[in-house]
Amino acid sequence: MASNWPILSVLIWLPIIGGLAVIAVGEHRAALARLLALVIAGLTFILSIMLFTGFDTSTAAMQFTEHKPWIETFDIFYSLGVDGFSVPLILLTTFFGVLVVIAGWEVIQQKVNQYMAAFLIMEGLMVGVFSALDAMLFYVFFEAMLIPMFLVIGMWGGPRRVYATIKFFLYTFLGSVFMLIGLIYLYIQSGSWSILDWHQFPLTLEVQKWLFLGFLAAFSVKIPMWPVHTWLPDAHVEAPTGGSVVLAAIMLKIGGYGFIRFSLPVTPDASAALDWLIITLSLIAVVYIGFVALVQQDMKKLIAYSSISHMGFVTLGMFIAFAIFQNTESGRGAALGVEGAMVQMISHGFVSGALFLCVGVLYDRLHSRMIADYGGVANTMPWFAAFAVLFFMANAGLPGTSGFVGEFMVILAAFQANFWYAFLAAITLILGAAYSLWLVKRVIFGEVTSNDVAMLEDINAREALVLGTLAIAVLLVGVWPEPLVNLMHASVEQLLQHIQQPKFSVAGI
């Protein structure tokens, strides 16, 4: 289903150029800037649906490919393409592109044009990350994305925004430069920047391990894994609502995507040899960070820690595959694990995005994120309460919501790897329920605790639209995940086949 016009390029450059146009509108015509941003984001989302409808689910090959020379002296190509892993994430990105514009509609009053432009440019860059097939191009998008986020947190963030945003930038930058060394090394060895070529390129186990650690440095910070997660709570707490939403819903997924696109297929043997490391870190994230979330006083911080805990599931689902291959003949559980990880990423995108929007709704009214400042919100904001409870339930992994599907698949797969993996992972269902429901109890239900809460007004049509859309998405993935799983099935199968074959034996070394 290759269409003739470069849809991926359009999805990347339309928001970026559109963002520049929004800046050009000027500071004083805020209404026009908002409208233009909405139009561009909307158009991008509509166009991205064509990826979904035109996508051939029967093959794992790259689709909608584009291939043009970029820096010919060093064989760098402007090479784009999508497979079953990238399409859902691109759709998630463009979907949130629209929501973020709407969510910032009245809330942002300062420098509206720059705010909207930053998000549009970020959207384009993130689509670029998910569709780049050339490692250099990937890296450029991967890093360039930091700039708009840096500015968003720093310009529209809370009181400690400067600390948070510089920490965010330097942490991610430090992680990714190690990956850069790995990428350059791979180029020197293979003479190509194509990620797909690298998948087939034989490497010794020793080299693979170093490369794996390089990738790990970049992606573990991004996703983030314990113990390099500390930037995330700070960034989330200080970021404006839109920034938190994009950070949680999409940026974290780039780390997971990186593992699937680079770590597993480029260094499969190292992944197999070092899977214990990732699994240990993931389980620590799932359990320990779950406990940390329990004691948070700040709603955004709580959701941030819960994000880290949930992303632990993603890495767990990806890396238990090797243990499953060893334990079972068919290795069919491995597919369940990887698919579960992918579903978990999408679901967490919806849920965490929605939760940050919910906190944003409260924050806009009372200018506090402290749990203690609220209580009995359901009495004054019944509609809001309904949405919030749904999303927190999804966060806890209630069956029927998207949160359940991914976690259940991963836990199921983990049983085939090791009982204790599954046991520890399943603890999160309890912990997740504990911190989510306890928050709901303290904030939403009970008596109205203060005059401020008594004065609260329920959500307006704009907020209802945003939360309603997300509620539909959460429920849809929860009860009918099949289209999503179908989308990625072929790619997952191919990935698993690929990582079972040792690379160094091909090299004969």
């Binding site: 820096i71 002296t73 450029v140 890093e143 500015l151 330097l170 430090l174």
Partner: protein, 481 residues
């Protein structure tokens, strides 16, 4: 005696003639009409570019050719570097005209001195013998000493000029001493013949190694890399910003060319020895430059330390002694000169009514005062920090690749880790511009040519990044990589 084709040096002749013409014309101009000097200087650069770019001077081909008994060489690396020198000097002139006018220092001396320095740059770029190298170097240095002291009444300026002069002379002495040893060992001043003699003598000749040590010391002084960097922050801070702008941009390209000519053309057989020395210089410069810059509150000083680390990166390209490494170093130095010109241009832009905006706090809230200039400065800062997709990233990337090509993993790791450290102080400028409230609400105003130049300079950071392909190809092709 064969003087060869003297026309090979046509651009140098042209610049020399014009520098003298400007000197004389100035005598007949009243104070109000000094703008003519500026126009003449720009014209000089334009024609110099045309002469240089015309290429073959009737000799055909772009292969390297020598003249003046082999003491002058014209090759594609030289041509490219010269063209960029004109371009960047053009930017320098546009920025400094505005600045000199504001500070009531708009005299023709600035133009004549900097044109003589340009002549030195061109000679150094095209040098093919030790004498030409020394000649070019001293031409740059002497003009620069005078330029640093350009503001006669400034105490800091005079102090900086003295420091620069004393240390610079010492460095020249070292260099000469090294050259004399090389001459003693090889019996020739011509770089090609030196190369031939060295390969006969073998690389374990003590006299040669001794000479090499002094050459590298002299070179390091001129480049300003650790531990021979002490003069850089003081000179950058003390000199008038127009001068800092000049010495921080154009002469760096000559310094790169000098390093290449001396070390590669002349002493490539000693690569094993000089790469060891240089690797120490590189590591120290990158570490110290980036760490010391964090502590600065004066932006000229901060940029001075950042220069030190950038020069470390340039040398890192030379280190492996490979063609792609030299290409990387050349790309880096060109890009660096552009970034540096833009950064100092921004300082000039913010300076108002005779007060230099040399505190980093002067950048506070720039986004609220004028969001376009803030964007330009942000692009320059991100480019210096090496964040993609800005051109500074590609420069760092090429250099790191050259190091990895040579198997220098530890060096690459030091380089990337400290560029993250460096990112911090560049980000601090961005932070001041975007996240803080302005301290001054004064209107930012500049002549139209200034605004055009600084905008173009800023856009180049992005444009050369996205479309870096051709410049990279040109730099690589210069060394046949």
């Amino acid at each position: 005696m064969n003087n060869g084709n003297m026309l090979l040096a046509a651009p140098e002749f042209w610049v020399l003639i014009m520098a003298c013409v400007i000197l004389i014309v100035d005598l007949f101009l009243s104070k109000e009409r000094r703008g003519i000097i500026h126009m003449l200087a720009m014209l000089t650069l334009v024609f110099a570019a045309i002469i240089t770019a015309r290429g073959d001077y009737g000799t055909g081909g772009l292969a390297s050719e020598t003249a003046f008994n082999g003491s002058f060489i014209r090759d594609s690396m030289g041509d490219v570097l010269k063209l960029f020198s004109y371009l960047i000097l053009g930017l320098v002139y546009i920025y400094s005209k505005f600045c000199l006018r504001q500070f009531r220092m708009f005299r023709a001396d600035f133009y004549t001195l900097s044109l003589f320095a340009l002549l030195g740059v061109m000679l150094l770029i095209s040098a093919n013998s030790l004498v030409t190298i020394y000649l070019g170097l001293e031409l740059i240095s002497l003009s620069s000493y005078a330029l640093v002291a350009y503001d006669r009444d400034s105490k800091m300026g005079s102090e900086a000029a003295m420091k620069y002069f004393v240390l610079g002379s010492m460095a020249s002495g070292m260099l000469l001493y090294g050259m004399s040893m090389i001459y003693g060992a090889t019996g020739t001043l011509d770089l090609q013949q030196i190369a031939a003699a060295v390969s006969e003598l073998g690389s374990d000749n003590y006299l040669l190694i001794f000479g090499l040590v002094f050459l590298v010391v002299g070179l390091a002084f001129k480049l300003g890399v650790v531990p021979f960097h002490m003069w850089i922050p003081d000179v950058y801070q003390g000199a008038p910003v127009a001068t800092t702008l000049f010495i921080a941009s154009v002469p760096k390209m000559a310094a790169f060319a000098m390093a290449f000519r001396l070390l590669q053309t002349g002493l490539s057989d000693l690569q094993h020895d000089w790469s060891q020395m240089i690797s120490i210089l590189v590591v120290l410069s990158i570490i110290l430059g980036n760490l010391a810059a964090i502590a600065q509150t004066n932006i000229k000083r901060m940029l001075a330390y950042s220069t030190i680390s950038h020069m470390g990166f340039v040398l890192m390209g030379l280190l492996p002694g490979t063609a792609s490494g030299f290409g990387a170093g050349m790309f880096y130095v060109i890009v660096y000169s552009m970034m540096s010109a833009a950064a100092f241009g921004m300082i000039i832009l913010l300076s108002a009514r005779g007060v230099e905006a040399d505190k980093i706090d002067d950048f506070k809230g720039l986004n609220q005062r004028n969001s376009w200039y803030a964007a330009v400065m942000a692009m320059v800062m991100f480019s210096m920090a090496g964040v993609p997709v800005f051109v500074g990233f590609f420069a760092k990337w090429l250099v790191i690749k050259a190091a990895l090509d040579a198997g220098l993993f530890w060096l690459a790791i030091v380089a990337v880790v400290f560029s993250v450290v460096g990112a911090f102080y560049y980000l601090r400028i961005v932070k001041l511009m975007y996240f803080d409230e302005p301290v001054s609400e004064a209107e930012i105003d500049a002549p139209v040519d200034f605004r055009a130049a600084i905008s173009l300079n800023g856009i180049m950071m992005l444009g050369l990044g996205i479309f870096s392909s051709s410049l990279i190809a040109i730099c690589m092709a210069s060394f046949g990589a």
